[in-house]
Structure formats: C-alpha cells, structure tokens
Symmetry: C2
Subunit: 321 residues, 2 copies
C-alpha cells in the first residue's frame, strides 16, 4: 500500500520480534453467530494471551527495539490495554514502565497493570488528559514516550494481525475493525489493502466517541469535547493527524454504532460464541446488527480485540434485557 | 513411550491431516489465576475453534482416513463434543454422520450437532446406553462405528495437544488432564511421558463419575451403576480395557474432585481469565483448589478442553454463591 507510513517488509520483520504467544491467534468461522447476523462470520480472537488484547503485538516491537540500545524507562498514556501490554513487554526486559491512565478506566485494567509491576499514575480526567500528562512525564524525566497509533511500531504490531488474515484461505469479503486511536485500523487496513485489495476495510466506532470517524468522513481532524460510551478502549477526543492521513488511504468506510448494539454484540458473543469480551471488541458485531442488509450473504471477519472488562459491569450489561 | 497403543511418529503424521484451525491452540500463562491458586498456571485453550472442544483433532484424523477409501457413513455415541466434532469433520467431506446421544445431554451440544446436518438419535439413558445403541446402528446399517478413546485415531488426535505442550519452553512441572473415556489423557500422557518424562501427568475426574479413576487405582476395570456430575463431557460408567491399559502406563496420578470445586474452577476461569468453559474443562483448576499444597510454587498446565455449555445452567452455576 503506497502512501501510508507503514511498510509491509517492516511488518513482516515485526513478526520475528514479537513473542510467539501473541502471534497466530485463533481465526475461525463461528456458525452459531450466523443465524442472528445473516452472514458468514469469522472471528480473529486476540484475547487468548497473557494480556488479553492485541496491544502486546505493538509493545513487543517497541520493547525489542529499545532492548538493544534505547532507554530502559518508558511512559505511555493508555485507556488500559496499551499500558497493560507495555507493562508485560517491559517487565520481562527489566524496563521501568510508567502508565498514565484515567482514574475512570476499568478497575480490571488498572489492577492488571499494577500486578505487572508498572508504576500507574491516574489523572482525574479522560484519555486525552492522560496523553498530556504522559508527555509531561516524559519531558520531565527524560524517558521514552510511547504514543499509541502515532508511534509506528504500535501500528506495525497491529498490522501483523492483517498478515494472518490475508494469509488465510478462503478470503473474506469484509473486515470489521474497532476504531479508536487508529493503530489497529491503519495497521490491519494497510496489509489488507496491499495484499487483498478486494476485501472491504470497515472501521467501527461508537456514536458516543465519534471523533476519528467524523475526521475520516470530513477528511480533516475533527475533535469532540467529550465522549460517552462503554467502549472505553476506543474512547478519545483528539485524532492524530498522521494517523488520520493513513486511515484515509486504507479504510473503505467508517461507521458509528449505538451503545445498545455494542451490548447486544457482547451478549451474542457470550451466548453463541462463549466469548467474554470488552465493549470495544463487540463493535464489529454491532455494525452487522445495525446494517444486516449490507452484510447479508457475505463473509465478514471481525477482530475480537480485547477482553479486559470489569466483571460487575459486564454482568450488568449482558444480563440486562 | 513403549507399551501403549500410541506411536509418536503416527501422532506427528496426524498433525498433517488435521485442519490447521484446530492446531497450535493458544498456550499461555494466566497470572490473574495465580494468587487464587498458589502456583504458576498455564492454559492450553481448546475452545477457540469451530466446534469449541479438542475433539475435532481426533475426528479430523478419522475422517481424513475414511475420505480416501473407507465408508462414507459413520455413527458414534457421544456425550456431545465428539458428535459435534464428527459432524463438522464429516460435513465438509460429504459424509453421512449419525450421532447417538443421551436425551439428557446439554441442549447446546445437541442443537449444534443438528445445526451441522448430522442425524441425531437420542436414547432415554446415559452415555453408556448411547454406546450400545450406536454399536447396534453400526451393525444394522453396516456403517463405520467411531468409538471414542478405543479408536486409536481419537487418541492420536488428542495427542497432538501433547506435542504442542512439550514443544514449548519453559517446560511445566505438571499437566492436568480431564479424564473421561481416556482419549485425551492417554494421548497427551503418551507424548508427555515419551518426550518430557519429568513432567507429572495428573488425570482429574469428578467424584460423581469415578469409574476410570477407580480402575486406574485398582489396575482393573471398575464400573459404576450410575453417574452424578455436572461434568457431562467426562461422565461414563464402563471404562474400556485397552484404554485403561494405556492409562496405567502414562498417568502418574488420577484424582477425584467435588462438584463444588468444579463450579469454583468455572467461576475462576470466568472472573480471572475471561473464559466461559464447560464443567469438564474446569477439572484441572478444581484439582488445584482441592490440593494447593501439592502444587504450591510449581508450574502447572491445564487443558481447557471444551466450552459447549447451556447458557442457563452456566449462569446458575457460576453466579450461585
């Protein structure tokens, strides 16, 4: 794919430095979901690993590069999963990892970051405030700032999922990708458009956190004043210009879904696939539920990108009728 | 491993005929489980595939052999998962598949067998009655009877899990294996004892369905008149002599666990690993819960062997305090 910041040869090289426990995740057709969705559905499962999300693919690339000759102290802002992954990748290499997160992030994510021996700093605000604070920490302490979606390694790590998708036969008609900061969408989108251009790349974001989708549609950065969604993993107000530029080259569409559809998607994944997922991981199913005609009879792959969810909140969502 | 019916070269060959969607399943350390268990725990996850259990490893071996020159009609008795797997492996090859099961088997298993276009015959009794009926169907119709654990291919398929376990570094101190008919235990046990003899092979069965464990302890077939366990996947009254003979060669221990421990194990896997599992898949965790001292400080691998469970029953079990 010409024009994006990504390079397929570098993505292939990334596979060689990522711990194999995160690679070659399950990819399988889930027929039990199909009567309710009206299309053929394959799941790319990114939750069956030590950090329960795809994010370690990227942090493994970053940490392996730093392990050679870079600084051994790093800081990132995170909605939770990046911090968890960076803590995992950093701990095994003896790094000093600081994660800045919102104090309103799911306790499950915050607790697991602490359990991995990272220093956790909480801000009394949202992810974009955590980003500002992490940048200040990096400047003050003179340590490496890891910026999700902006740092190309985070996109390259995510893009290895794309390689695993396009190497599988038969191919899909469309891939549904959760859209937050954009690392997953631009990474997977780059590989799919380069290797299997006929496959439709569809990004999915909550209506309650629509900044990147609005930006993609208007082809310029559009910010919002607030977010309001249970899909904490993709919530953000300030799209990064360089990431938007890549997204404009690789996404065929970006759609917004309602909270009720996200919950319905979580419940379907539980009842028909036996999968506990966090809200962001149900965005693809939500998109199908909201536009069945678009997907009718087609083969759709959806990336189940994380399962770090508070048990109490999860039960309230999926058991409320 | 000398003496068993299994052969490591044949097990390696089996890997080449099993659909890759069932191979190289996730194997990862799950630290969130560890504070509650007092040992290092790795999970071998056999549920993230189209049939949600390990059984298709075996049915793929059987079906690929038949696909060449064997009969194209098959019948099996099943507690559910073997039938589901045989229906999947048979459908893609155009086989005529009949599954005989107890009418008391979980509806989720029976529904999924029907959805895969298999003919489902229900008996008004348990799995051992279904075995008798399946044998009668095979005789009457002159079709191939697939016998779980007795047919060596079912053991060889399961044994490929063993190859994936022993090929991983660092090694484990013990492997916990659900014990029912014995295909999983003898298959995995054979490979572990042949390739990594220092790893303890521990089979786990419910107190409410103890026939194979009693047989292993007494070194002769011991039957029971009934079973009483929620772990439907491992419930059986009549051990197969040839399978017991293999088990005597490969198992270091066989333990029995209470129903309450199975439920506690299911709840731990849900709350700390985000995994919905059927009761049989929680036997390993149950064994740790019942004997923490035995496993303290050791690295234990447990095979999460299936997730076909009725949603209603599952919710009653895991949410009852």
């Amino acid at each position: 794919m010409q024009g994006t910041r990504l390079d397929t040869a570098r993505i292939r090289a990334a596979r060689r430095v990522i711990d194999p426990v995160f690679l070659d995740s399950p990819l399988y057709r889930c027929e039990a979901l199909e009567p309710g969705l009206g299309c053929t559905v394959s799941i790319k499962l990114e939750t069956a690993n030590p950090v329960r999300s795809f994010k370690a693919r990227g942090t493994e690339v970053i940490a392996s590069l730093l392990d050679g000759n870079g600084p051994r102290a790093v800081v990132c802002a995170s909605t939770g999963n990046l911090g968890l992954a960076l803590a995992w990748s950093g701990r095994r290499r003896g790094f000093d990892v600081t994660v800045v997160a919102s104090r309103y992030a799911p306790a499950a994510k915050l607790d697991r970051i602490r359990a991995l021996d990272a220093r956790l700093e909480l801000v009394d605000g949202d992810f974009d405030m955590a980003r500002e604070r992490a940048a200040a920490v990096a400047r003050h302490d003179g340590i490496r700032l890891v910026e999700d979606s902006l740092d190309i390694e985070t996109c390259e790590g995510a893009a290895t999922i794309g390689l695993e998708l396009v190497e599988t036969a038969p191919s899909f008609d469309a891939v549904l990708i959760a859209l937050g900061g954009g690392a997953l969408a631009t990474g997977v989108g780059h590989v799919v458009k380069a290797q299997a251009p006929g496959v439709e790349v569809i990004c999915v974001q909550p209506l309650g956190s629509p900044s990147m989708t609005h930006s993609w549609r208007q082809r310029r950065v559009v910010t919002t004043d607030s977010t309001n969604t249970i899909a904490d993993g993709v919530a953000g107000r300030h799209p990064i210009p360089a990431v938007l530029a890549d997204l404009l080259l690789v996404a065929d569409d970006a759609v917004l879904v309602q909270e009720a559809s996200i919950i319905a998607g979580m419940r379907m994944l539980l009842d028909h696939a036996g999968l506990v997922v966090e809200p962001s991981a149900a965005l693809g199913i939500a998109a199908i539920l909201e536009d069945r005609d678009r997907f009718a009879g087609r083969h759709v792959a959806t990336i189940v990108c994380g399962s770090n969810v508070d048990a109490g909140a999860y039960r309230r969502w999926v058991h409320a009728v």
